[in-house]
């Protein structure tokens, strides 16, 4: 421990911009575009704040396509009235994302011969935005379909439907000009029989144009239901490949977990070579892929679990009481102490490995966890004491360990990694170590 000391923490990331290049709104519903626009669902973000049975669910709108073609059907547990639906600020999801993103931490080894000193520095935390467009229109009719409520919120026109059978619902949607994806009909039936309602949203173009917003904002719905689930099956109707879903669960209790699939922590606290700093998103992507494959492709990964009152290190400032309230944590008031525990889960799902919708539960587990990867800057000055010499001699071994860790986590070739490792030339290095090192770099 005395060999090196933390000088500088930093952090950040996010994967969103680079990692989830093509985000889309997929998890709980399917698009019902009217045009033949290419729609594909790759990743989506949703925030669920829940206390008891009271739930506030915010769906980030990452739809990529023409706004006028946007329309979505999402099963919801209860009939939603106008005052239960709001348009939220997309910054809320961005803030949750920034706060909980896996982070890179840098440590600087001090001069082993000098007195210990310490300082801190923070790197910027680039954030990814979501956003895009959408749009369609609507109409009315029966066929066992009841329009439970109908209203406009912000740039969205919303209809809440209940149906008696999937054929009727499909006909209603078709008659009203929505294009149902192939295979959706069979999937609608289980939801109808479970007495779920259907939240159908499209963009009111007039509102959208006058609002001046550049992208569609998240939709926030509030309801009370013992069901704590996300219907992912519908979202798989129009997705070819695996889809990524990031769920932020806010709870006054503790960590949330999935009850019908395994919940696993992402690999964390690994010390990796310095050069990864410039390719962190590639690193994270490869590491996640490796973990996903190793765990059998049917688990939910926890990327972050923390009391939102603080963080260490922070990849972004903790959310203020007002921001938490906007994110759905309705139990937070300026007067009461902040009591919000966030769990960030990353689920990559495919039809064959995730036959069932995701069911969650809140636990009282208040243990903290973060996806955290450590960069350690070696001290490069000339050693002026015995400890310094020993330190320099230890460096090749340290670098090799970092390389091995990186190879294990990402599946990258160890040779490629070694080539990018820093060279340690030291007069204190024994001859055999120099030969060994030369061999590495030749091979």
């Amino acid at each position: 421990m005395k060999i090196f000391r933390t000088l500088l923490l930093s952090c950040f990331i996010f994967l969103a911009s680079c990692f989830f290049v093509t985000k889309a709104w997929a998890f709980c519903g399917f698009y019902v575009a009217k045009a033949d626009s290419k729609l594909y669902n790759q990743a989506s973000q949703v925030a669920i704040a829940r206390n008891g049975n009271q739930t506030v669910l915010t769906m980030a709108n990452d739809y990529q396509g023409e706004v006028k073609d946007f329309a979505i059907v999402v099963p919801v547990p209860v009939v939603l009235k106008e005052d239960q639906v709001e348009v939220s600020d997309s910054q809320v999801i961005e803030r949750l994302d920034a706060f909980s993103a896996p982070r890179l931490v840098e440590y600087f080894d001090p001069d082993p011969c000098a007195q210990l000193w310490r300082s801190e520095d923070f790197l910027a935390a680039p954030q990814a935005a979501s956003a895009e467009r959408a749009a369609p229109r609507q109409s009315n009719s029966a066929l066992g379909v009841t329009v439970e409520s109908q209203f406009s919120v912000g740039e969205y026109d919303i209809v809440i439907l209940s149906a008696r059978e999937s054929g009727g619902l499909e006909t209603w949607l078709t008659q009203n000009g929505y294009r149902i994806p192939q295979g959706a009909r069979q999937l609608l039936q289980p939801y109808i029989r479970q007495r779920l309602k259907f939240f159908v949203a499209k963009v009111n173009l007039e509102e959208y144009e006058t609002s001046g917003y550049q992208s569609l904002r998240p939709i926030k719905i509030t309801y009370e239901s013992p069901r704590f689930m996300l219907p992912i099956r519908l979202g798989m109707v129009n997705a070819q490949a695996a889809q990524d879903l990031i769920v932020y669960i806010l709870s006054p209790q503790g960590q949330a977990e999935v009850t019908n699939y395994r919940t696993v922590k992402v690999p964390s606290d690994a010390e990796i070579p310095l050069y990864v700093k410039d390719e962190f998103s590639d690193f994270y992507k490869a590491m996640f892929d490796t973990a996903y494959n190793r765990e059998g492709k049917n688990v939910a990964f926890v990327e972050y679990a923390w009391d939102m009152a603080g963080c260490d290190p922070c990849s972004a400032e903790p959310l203020s009481a007002d921001e938490l309230h906007k994110a759905g944590a309705f139990w937070v008031t300026p007067e009461t102490p902040q009591n919000v525990f966030i769990t960030r889960m990353h689920v990559r799902y495919t039809r064959d490995r995730f036959p069932e919708d995701l069911v969650f539960q809140q636990t009282n587990n208040r243990a903290s966890f973060q996806g955290r990867y450590v960069l350690r800057h070696a001290f490069t000055g000339e050693p002026t004491c015995a400890a310094g010499e020993a330190y320099q001699r230890s460096l090749p071994r340290v670098f090799e360990q970092q390389a091995q860790t990186l190879a294990r986590l990402t599946g990258w070739s160890i040779q490629d990694i070694r080539e990018k490792l820093p060279q340690v030339q030291s007069r204190f290095m024994p001859w055999w170590q120099r030969v060994f090192q030369a061999l590495w770099h030749q091979s």
């Binding site: 999937s166 069979q186 039936q189 289980p190 029989r193 479970q194 013992p226 069901r227 704590f228 689930m229 503790g254 977990e257 999935v258 009850t259 019908n260 699939y261 395994r262 919940t263 696993v264 922590k265 059998g296 049917n298 688990v299 064959d352 036959p355 069932e356 069911v359 539960q361 636990t363 009282n364 587990n365 208040r366 243990a367």
Partner: protein, 281 residues
């Protein structure tokens, strides 16, 4: 002689599951927590043997270990005190909650319910095993072996058959594909419950017909709690709620009380070991 005691099998298999869970699953188990459960269960059992039931303490030790192992596998808590409470309630329930010499609740189940209801920091993770096929084989194999020794396989079979049928009916009615049904049944936690928790010969009905009815009733209640009230830990609540039904069923279907292993034990030992034989989880 040692391996004629089904509790030894229980201990071996539950230890195996705990080891497999720690080694291959991402369980947030701490040695301190496991140690606490073992210390609590063993010391409370010891105390109960010496001061409450006046039985030789060593004879009851294996059942304390089984309860501790069962709780270690299933119950999670933030604080050590919660696990002390769970362990103590589990062991004391055997002594205090008895009808005609037969304890009403499965100790492990009682400990879990006590921790969930009386404290604010306990939880059970139904998804902790995942649903890989090899676990199913492991659970079925181990469960079968232990149940074979104890002679109460019919309870597991009745529970699983009833629960699988109910889920199948629901699946057909909803129109899900069959992989949804399989996924719901392949849960390691459900199988563990079916094979190791509801088979406790000391707390389940004595007559086979009684056991079949009782197991089917637990399956029905589990199904209801899971699908209507959306309780993910439904099996534990169902077993807890219906455990007292055993008293009634035993009256309706009178039968010999479970006396484990008439084949190999001396008559004197029978009662003591029978009394201690209570697979926890």
């Amino acid at each position: 002689m040692l391996f004629h005691d089904a509790r030894i099998y229980q201990i071996v298999f539950l230890s195996l599951f705990l080891g497999v869970g720690i080694a291959t699953r991402d369980w947030s188990l701490q040695p301190l927590m496991i140690g606490t459960l073992f210390a609590t269960c063993c010391s409370v059992q010891w105390f109960a043997s010496v001061y409450l039931t006046a039985t030789p303490p060593l004879q009851s030790l294996p059942s304390a270990l089984i309860t501790a192992l069962g709780l270690s596998v299933l119950l999670r808590a933030d604080h050590v005190s919660t696990l002390v409470l769970a362990g103590a309630f589990a062991m004391l329930s055997k002594v205090w909650l008895r009808v005609q010499g037969k304890h009403i609740f499965n100790p492990g189940n009682f400990g879990i319910v006590a921790a969930l209801t009386l404290t604010q920091d306990a939880w059970v993770s139904p998804g902790q095993w995942g649903e890989e096929g090899w676990y199913v084989l492991l659970f079925l194999g181990a469960g079968g072996l232990v149940l074979g020794r104890v002679g109460r396989w019919d309870t597991s079979a009745a529970f699983l058959a009833a629960y699988a049928s109910l889920e199948a009916i629901r699946n057909v009615w909803l129109g899900w594909t069959w992989d949804v049904w399989a996924h719901r049944l392949m849960s390691g936690s459900l199988l563990m419950f079916a094979l190791f928790m509801i088979t406790d010969p000391r707390t389940i009905p004595n007559a086979r017909m009684g056991r079949l009815i009782w197991a089917a009733a637990i399956a029905l209640l589990t199904f209801f709690l899971r699908n209507v009230w959306f309780i993910s830990t439904a099996p534990f609540w169902a077993l807890f709620a219906l455990a007292p039904l055993t008293i009634l069923i035993d009256r309706l279907f009178p039968s010999e009380r479970f006396t484990w292993e008439e084949r190999s034990l001396a008559a004197d030992d029978k009662e003591a070991i029978t009394d201690a034989l209570l697979p926890a989880a």
